[in-house]
C-alpha cells in the first residue's frame, strides 16, 4: 500500500510568557492511502495540534510532514479539515456554504458546482441547497460540513472531534453516514476523538497518545473481518469490548 502521509519526528512546543508548553514530542507515523486512522489520547495531549501540523496551518518546531512525499509548508488542497462544530455560516445558504472552499481557492467552475450538487443529492441534502443552515437538523448540518470539505476534492480528510457536538443517538447515525461517504469517495481519513468506542468502530488503526507532551503510546490494528463494515456493525462484534477495555486502560481515564 502507498504511504500518503508521513510524520517524521514531529515535535511541537508552544511558547507563552509563563513558559514553554511541550505539546508533542517525537511523533512518527505513516498513513496509507485509503486508510482510516484514529487518534485518541488524554485531554490536552496535543491531538488538535497534530492535525493542525498535518494540515499545514501550524509549523512544527521540529520534524517534517510529508504528503505524497512532498514536504508540507502551508495549507494544501490535498488536505481537507473538518472541525468539531459544523461552522456552517448562518448568512449563506447550504449551497453557498458548500461552495465556500472553492470560492476561497478561486475555483468555482460549473463542473465544480455540478460536483457539489451531485454530493448534495447523493447524501440527501439537495432539497436544502437553497435553505439556510438554521433549518437543518444537527446531523444534516454535519453532513453539509463534510460535503463542503469534499467538494474541494482533498485526498486526505482530517476530522477533529467532528461528531462531539451531536447527541448520542444522532452521533451513532452520523458515524455511519460519514463513514459511508468517506469510503465511497475513497478518501484517507485521520480522525481525532475523545470517544474510544467511536474510534474503534470507525477506524483501521487507533493511535493512542500519552499525556502531554504527546507521543505515540500504542497502536491498535482493528480488523473485525466484517463484510460491508459499518461503525454500527463493528460495535456489535464481541472483540469490540476487548479492544475497548484495552484502550480504556491505556488511557487511564480519571474522573
Amino acid at each position: 500500500m502507498k504511504v500518503i502521509v508521513e510524520l517524521q519526528n514531529i515535535g511541537m512546543k508552544y511558547q507563552s510568557l509563563n513558559g514553554e508548553i511541550p505539546a508533542l514530542e517525537n511523533i512518527n507515523l505513516e498513513v496509507y492511502e485509503g486508510e482510516f486512522v484514529s487518534i485518541v489520547g488524554p485531554s490536552g495531549c496535543g491531538k488538535s495540534t497534530l492535525l493542525s501540523i498535518i494540515s499545514g496551518l501550524l509549523a512544527p518546531t521540529s520534524g517534517n510532514v510529508l504528503i505524497e512525499g512532498e514536504q508540507v509548508t502551508g495549507p494544501s488542497k490535498k488536505v481537507g479539515y473538518m472541525l468539531q462544530k459544523d461552522h456552517l455560516f448562518d448568512w449563506r445558504t447550504i449551497m453557498q456554504n458548500v461552495l465556500l472552499g472553492l470560492e476561497i481557492q478561486k475555483s468555482v467552475t460549473p463542473s465544480a458546482k455540478q460536483y457539489a450538487e451531485h454530493l448534495l443529492r447523493t447524501y440527501g441534502l439537495i432539497e436544502f441547497a437553497h435553505k439556510y443552515p438554521s433549518q437543518l437538523s444537527g446531523g444534516m448540518r454535519q453532513r453539509a460540513a463534510l460535503i463542503r470539505t469534499l467538494v474541494t476534492n482533498p485526498q486526505i480528510l482530517l476530522l477533529d472531534e467532528a461528531f462531539s457536538a451531536l447527541d448520542y443517538q444522532t452521533r451513532l447515525a452520523v458515524n455511519d453516514d460519514i463513514y459511508d461517504i468517506i469510503k465511497k469517495e475513497h478518501k484517507t481519513a485521520i480522525m481525532v476523538t475523545h470517544d474510544i468506542a467511536e474510534s474503534i468502530s470507525m477506524s483501521d488503526r487507533v493511535i493512542v497518545l500519552t499525556r502531554r507532551p504527546g507521543t505515540v503510546k500504542s497502536v491498535h490494528e482493528i480488523n473485525f473481518q466484517l463484510d460491508n463494515r459499518t461503525p454500527l456493525k463493528s460495535r456489535k462484534v464481541p472483540k469490540f469490548q476487548n479492544v475497548f477495555e484495552c484502550i480504556w486502560k491505556e488511557l487511564d481515564v480519571h474522573v
Partner: protein, 280 residues
C-alpha cells in the same frame, strides 16, 4: 436513514381549538388589554395632571409650560412652516452623523483588527478617549473647526466614533476562532478571512453599533446645535430659552423625543430586516 426531518414545533394542532386553549387565549388577551390600558392611562393621567395643575396655577405654567400651550405652539410653528424645517435639519444632521460614525468606526475597527501593532499602540489612547466626556470638547471644536454644520457633525463623530470602534472591534474579536480556522484550512488569506467571515459575521454587531450610534448622534447634534446653529430642534430650545419662551422649549423637547424614538425604531426595523432574514 436520511429522513428529511424539519425542525420541531411545526406540528402544532391547528384543527379544532380546545376549550383550554380558548381560555388561555382569552386570558392572554385580557392581560394585554390591561397593559395597554395602563400605559395609556399613565400617559393621559400625566398630561391631564400637568394641564390641570398648570391651569390651577399650582405649578407655574410660565415655567413648566402646559399641554394646551404646547399644542398651540406646535400649531403656530406648523402654520409658519418652520416646524418641518427644524425637524428636517436636525434629523438630517443626525442621519449624516450616525451613518458617518458607523462607516468610519467600522473602517478603523478593520484597520485595528488587521494590524496587531497598530491596535496595541492605539489601545491606551482609545481607553482614554473612551472615558473622556466628549461633550467637553464642544467649545474647542467650534474654535478649531469653525461654526457651522461641520462643527455639529464633528461633535457627533466625537461622541459616537470611539464607541463604534470599540464595539465593532469587540464584535470582530468574539467571532469564533474556529470559523477563521475553517477559512484558513482552505488556504484563505487574511483578506478572505475579513470578507468571508469577519464582516458578514459582524453584521449584527455593526447594526447594533448603528443602534447605539443613533442615540449618540442625537446627543451630538443637540449639543452641536446648542453651540452653533441657525435651525433645528436644538436651536429652538436655545432660542426658546433666550427669549424666555418655555412653551417653545418644551415643545421642541417633546418633538425631539418623538423624532428620536421613531428613528431608533427605524434602525430596529432595519435590523430585523437584515438579520432575522436568515435566522428564522
Amino acid at each position: 436513514m436520511f429522513s428529511l426531518r424539519q425542525k420541531d414545533n411545526s406540528d402544532l394542532v391547528p384543527e379544532t381549538i380546545s376549550l383550554e386553549h380558548k381560555k388561555y387565549l382569552k386570558s392572554v388577551q385580557r392581560q394585554k388589554l390591561l397593559v395597554r390600558f395602563t400605559q395609556i392611562m399613565i400617559l393621559v393621567l400625566a398630561f391631564g395632571l400637568w394641564e390641570l395643575l398648570a391651569s390651577l396655577k399650582i405649578v407655574d405654567p410660565f415655567i413648566t409650560s402646559q399641554p394646551s400651550r404646547i399644542i398651540k405652539t406646535i400649531n403656530t410653528l406648523y402654520q409658519e412652516g418652520a416646524l418641518l424645517h427644524h425637524i428636517y435639519i436636525t434629523c438630517l444632521e443626525t442621519i449624516i452623523g450616525f451613518v458617518l460614525g458607523t462607516v468610519l468606526g467600522t473602517v478603523i475597527a478593520i484597520i485595528l483588527w488587521w494590524s496587531d501593532f497598530i491596535s496595541k499602540v492605539a489601545e491606551p489612547y482609545l481607553v482614554i478617549l473612551n472615558s473622556l466626556p466628549k461633550i467637553a470638547l464642544g467649545p474647542i471644536f467650534i474654535v478649531w473647526i469653525g461654526a457651522g454644520p461641520a462643527a455639529i457633525i464633528a461633535m457627533t463623530l466625537a461622541i459616537s466614533l470611539i464607541v463604534t470602534i470599540l464595539e465593532v472591534l469587540n464584535g470582530f474579536l468574539v467571532i469564533d476562532k474556529e470559523k477563521i480556522k475553517l477559512v484558513q484550512t482552505f488556504g484563505g488569506t487574511k483578506l478572505q478571512v475579513m470578507t468571508k467571515v469577519i464582516l458578514p459575521a459582524s453584521l449584527p454587531t455593526i447594526i447594533n453599533a448603528l443602534k447605539i450610534n443613533v442615540g449618540l448622534s442625537w446627543v451630538g447634534v443637540i449639543v452641536g446645535e446648542f453651540l452653533v446653529s441657525k435651525a433645528g430642534l436644538g436651536y429652538l430650545i436655545v432660542y426658546g430659552g433666550q427669549v424666555f419662551k418655555l412653551d417653545l422649549v418644551m415643545t421642541s423637547v417633546l418633538i425631539l423625543c418623538i423624532a428620536a424614538a421613531l428613528m431608533y425604531q427605524g434602525v430596529v426595523y432595519l435590523e430585523k430586516l437584515l438579520i432575522t432574514r436568515h435566522r428564522e
